[in-house]
Each structure stands twice: as C-alpha cells, then as structure tokens.
C-alpha cells in the first residue's frame, strides 16, 4: 500500500492481543483539515487502531508519525500536548465535575481566568450546553455526554481530532446533528471518525476506510464503498 506523507500517518501498524491480531499490518494517513472515517463490523479492530493512533496502545510493529516526527516514544499526555485529541468510545467525562468544570480542566495552561472563561463559554455555546453548565456531567443524557467529550477534546485546539463511535447510543436526530457538528469542526482540525453505524457514515459522506479482521479491505469515497461487493459481504456477515 502507498503511504502518503500526511499530517498523521500510521504505517504497517500491527497489534496483537495474545493470539488475536487486532490490527494487522495496517497503514492509514490523514491530512490537514481532512475528514476521514473508518468503518467495520464489531471486532474488526477499529478501537485498537484508534488506541494506537492516540498513543493509548503501543504497536507491536509499525511506525506512527505526526508532522514528520515519530510518536513511538511519547507518553499519552505528551501526544495530547502536541495536538492530537481524542474522544473515547465509552463516554469518558468527569462525572463528578460540572459541565463547565469539565471544559475548564480540558485547557492545559490557561493564559488567564478571563481567557479561560471566554473559551469555556464559547464551547458551551458550540455544544449547546450553556444552560446546563452547572449540572453534574454524570447527570447528562448519553448524547450530551458525547458532545461534552468532543467539546473537551476541542478545548486544546488540536490539529487532529480522533473520534471513536461518537454517535453510539444517539437517536437518529442526534446522529444527524452530530454529523453537522463534525462538518463544522473540520474547519479547524483534521478529523478521523471510527464508526460502526452505516447511516452515520453515509451522512458524513467522506473518504472511508473499511476495516475487517485487523486490515483495510477497501478505501475511497463512501458512495463507492457502499456498493462494493466485498464490503457488503463483510457487513452482511457472508465472509
């Protein structure tokens, strides 16, 4: 497979768990302000790939580069500091803090109290949670938690945003809202979305990788992917 020299590039990534090869010699790359999507059935290895890309897992082999620098020696918090932010699959917000506090702690080094308050207010507005700023984040509805977590990831103004199943547990309306939201975000950051829900990916309509058994079996614009026989076979479980 050709490796483009993108903003974030993983080449020949492999990750094993015991006998299972969760990610198998996989190469992927994302460019500035690009939206890309990885789909695949459950167990395809999407979350494992995602964890490799954000540094939460170390690859057994393969190389991960961000702007030409290797990420292999960096700790999780260092990877975040150079501009790669993530939203976990299971909503990971700080349940015992308020919505506003969740956003506050997501800014690493605020310049001043006012600057911080300003940015938090803007983000509350963007994720449509201004009126619930003082609620405990643990009391939010599932979809709201997902948005809050995206908001938290954005507070550091990342260059790459990694989203693992951002619409899991959302209603159809919420899912479509999230698609709109993600499109707006792409003015500021390159976004890689991991999803399992075909409808969401169709609405997002971006360059899509299809993952199966740890590898990529197809990639291209979603419209082409959807009609691909192999992809259909994988999704319908005929393989």
């Amino acid at each position: 497979m050709m490796i483009a020299s993108g903003l974030l590039t993983g080449s020949h990534l492999t990750k094993r768990f015991g006998g299972i090869v969760a990610v198998n010699d996989l190469s992927i790359s994302i460019n500035l302000l690009e939206i890309k999507c990885v789909i695949g059935p459950n167990g395809a290895g999407k979350s494992s790939l995602f964890n490799l890309l954000c540094g939460a897992l170390r690859p057994d082999s393969g190389e991960l580069m961000f702007k030409g620098h290797s990420l292999s020696r960096l700790a999780l918090h260092e990877i975040s500091r150079i501009g790669i932010a993530r939203k976990f699959q299971v909503p990971s917000i700080f349940e015992s803090l308020s919505v506003q506090q969740n956003l506050e702690v997501s800014v690493l080094k605020p310049q001043s109290k006012f600057e911080l308050k300003d940015r938090v207010d803007q983000m509350l507005d963007r994720i449509e949670q201004s009126d619930m700023r003082d609620q405990f984040a643990g009391n939010l509805a599932h979809g709201q938690k997902q948005w809050l977590e995206i908001g938290m990831a954005l507070m550091s103004e990342p260059e790459v945003l990694l989203l693992d199943e951002p619409t899991a547990g959302m209603t159809i309306d919420e899912t479509l809202d999230t698609v709109k939201f993600i499109h707006q975000l792409s003015d500021h950051a390159a976004i890689l979305v991991i999803e399992h829900d075909m409808n969401f990916v169709r609405a997002l309509g971006c360059h899509t990788y299809v993952m199966h058994q740890g590898g990529i079996i197809a990639d291209g614009p979603f419209s082409g992917i959807e009609n691909d026989d192999l992809v259909q076979a994988v999704y319908l479980g005929k393989m």
Binding site: A56, L76, H77, S80, F88, S92, F94, V105, F136
Partner: protein
C-alpha cells in the same frame, strides 16, 4: 448519584462558621480546659496532621495510602535521631532535627512514590504496597535499635528554641500550644486554599478518570507524585513537631495501627474536606484519652463502633452531615419568620 453530588460540591457557607468556631475553641482551650487537657489537645493536633496529609492524597486524588503513619514516624524519628545522636547543640539541633525529619520523610515518599506511581501502580495495588510500607517501617524501628532505640524508643529530644529577650529558650507550655495550633491551622488552611481552585479540579479528574485526564494532556503521574510527597511532608511535619514537643518517640507512632486509625479519622471527618479530618482526628484522640482513662479495653470497641458509624451513618463525614443539619434548621427558622 446522591453520594457523588454531595461529596464534591464546595463546602457550604455554614461550614465556615463551624471552622471558625473550632479555631476559636482551639485557641482559647488552654485558658478554658486547663494545661493538662490542653497538652492532650496539642498532641491530638499534631497527630491530626497525618489525617490532613492523607486527605490531601486520598480525598483529593482518590488514592488511599495505608502507610501514612510511616511518614509521621519518619518525621519524628528523623528529628529525634538528628537532634540527639549527632552531638549538636540543642538550640540548633532541635531545628535541624525538624528540618531533617521532614526531609527524610519526603525523600522516602519521593523514592517509593516514584517507583510506584511512574511504574503504573494504582488503586488497591497502591494501597496494598503502602500497607507493606507501614509493616516494614515498624520492623525497621524495632530491628535497628542501635539508632532508633528499638522497643524502648528515644528519650531526651530537645524542645524547639526560640529567640527571647533573654536569649534562646524553649516556649512556655501555653505559648508552645499556640505555636502548634498555628502551624496546624496554617497548614490546613493553606492546603485547603491551594486545593479550592483549578488545581483541586485537576486532582479530581485523576480520581474520576485518570486516562481521560492524560488524554487531555495532564501529566497525572507527576501530579500524583507531587501530592504524595506533599502529603507525606505534612504528616512528617506533625511527627517532627511531636518529637520535639513530647521529648521522646516510641514505635507506636509508626506502623499499621496508627495508619489504620488515620483512615478512620479521615472517613469520619469527611474525605476531601481537609478540615473535616483534622477536626475528627482531634475529637477522636481526645475521646480516646477520656475513654481509655476509664477502661483501656473499652477503646478498641469504641473505635470499631465509630468506624461503623462513619461508614453507615455519616458516609459524607460528620462535618458535612452537621453542616447539612444546621442548614436545614436554618431554613426551618427562615420559614417560621
């Protein structure tokens, strides 16, 4: 959910009143309860520093240490050894002992903490290792008797000397009491102030979801180590002051029993409130003296009873519960008026 929302809201205004009353009582105690009772209170305040230190760690980051008496003990023994064994002039030795005691404890915390925390040891594994630390430190004190005095302990630790009109001299009992009360209050209030803002929130994120905090760029291991060393320093300061105040140290100030009691003080006082555990420690120790003077066997029973009370009746700590009751009463009165 209820538990979560109560235990992390900032303390309501009412608790400032409670804290002020306690401080007023503490300062006026020598004049009210007499010198002997005041000396018990003074020692209780020094032990409460362990609870304060532990709550900085356990209450703020959710990391429970079963070995915090070790740091109190390291502070006390460090101070005792340096001030008695090096042949120093007591006017200098007592202060050098204090500084050394605290430094030794911080060094132990730094080394142990570094390997545990940066080695990824968390949660109950961390607690178990600190439990081992408590047991080991007890053995070291007993076994290394040439230096620590073993079972007999160390005697003749000089008091702290202060400049007076007639040269360097120890403080009178009442002034010493006020000095210690001030150190404890200042330490507690500054720790509380430090944790009341953004820093406290960041520590809270570590308790809630450490991986998430890391993914936001927080160096959580660094934070945890700082808190661990800081919390040990607070406990050690109590220990070092204890050594110079009481004049002797014995092995019961390190080890598992004291470590366990500290956890109970924090639980009773309300984990995460910092001030609550200090108040609880002082009251429980004071009670202990009273009850033990009636019947020594009664105390362990009573302690068990307190622990059950802390867990089942006041899961948010006595301070929060008390404040809650006061607030409800206040609301009732307002309704009447």
């Amino acid at each position: 959910m209820g538990r979560i929302s109560i235990s992390h809201t900032p303390l309501p205004k009412m608790s400032y009143l409670v804290i002020l009353l306690v401080i007023a009582f503490v300062y006026s105690a020598p004049l009210i309860v007499g010198t002997y009772s005041a000396s018990l209170l003074r020692d209780a305040m020094l032990f409460s520093m362990i609870a304060l230190g532990l709550d900085y760690l356990w209450g703020k980051t959710g990391t429970l240490s079963f070995g915090h008496a070790t740091f109190f003990g390291a502070g006390a023994y460090g101070a005792a050894i340096v001030s008695t064994k090096l042949g120093l002039d007591p006017t200098l030795g007592s202060w050098l002992g204090l500084i050394s005691g605290v430094s030794i404890a911080m060094l132990i915390a730094l080394v142990v903490g570094y390997f545990l925390i940066f080695g990824g040891v968390r949660g109950s594994y961390f607690t178990i290792v600190t439990l081992a630390l408590a047991v080991i430190s007890e053995h070291v004190i007993v076994g290394w008797s040439d230096i620590t005095g073993g079972d007999a302990g160390l005697l003749g630790i000089p008091p702290l000397f202060f400049p007076t009109l007639s040269g360097l001299a120890p403080l009178s009992p009442v002034v010493l009491y006020w000095f210690i009360a001030s150190v404890v209050c200042l330490t507690a209030l500054s720790l509380w102030w430090v944790c009341s803002g953004r820093y406290g929130l960041i520590l809270k994120t570590i308790e809630d979801n450490e991986e998430r905090a890391q993914a936001l760029g927080h160096n959580t291991s660094q934070h945890l180590l700082t808190v661990f060393v800081g919390s040990s320093a607070v406990a050690a300061l109590g220990g070092a002051l204890y050594a110079s105040t009481v004049g002797f140290v014995a092995k019961d100030i390190v080890g598992l029993i004291l470590s366990t009691q500290v956890i109970i003080w924090v639980a009773i006082g309300g984990r995460g409130t910092l001030i609550g555990p200090v108040i609880a420690a002082i009251f429980v120790i004071w009670f202990e003296q009273r009850i033990s003077s009636i019947n020594v066997q009664l105390w362990p029973l009573f302690m068990g009873f307190l622990f059950i009370l802390a867990v089942f009746v006041f899961p948010n700590g006595v301070l929060r519960t008390l404040v809650g009751i006061l607030r409800k009463l206040g609301q009732r009165l307002e309704h009447r008026v």
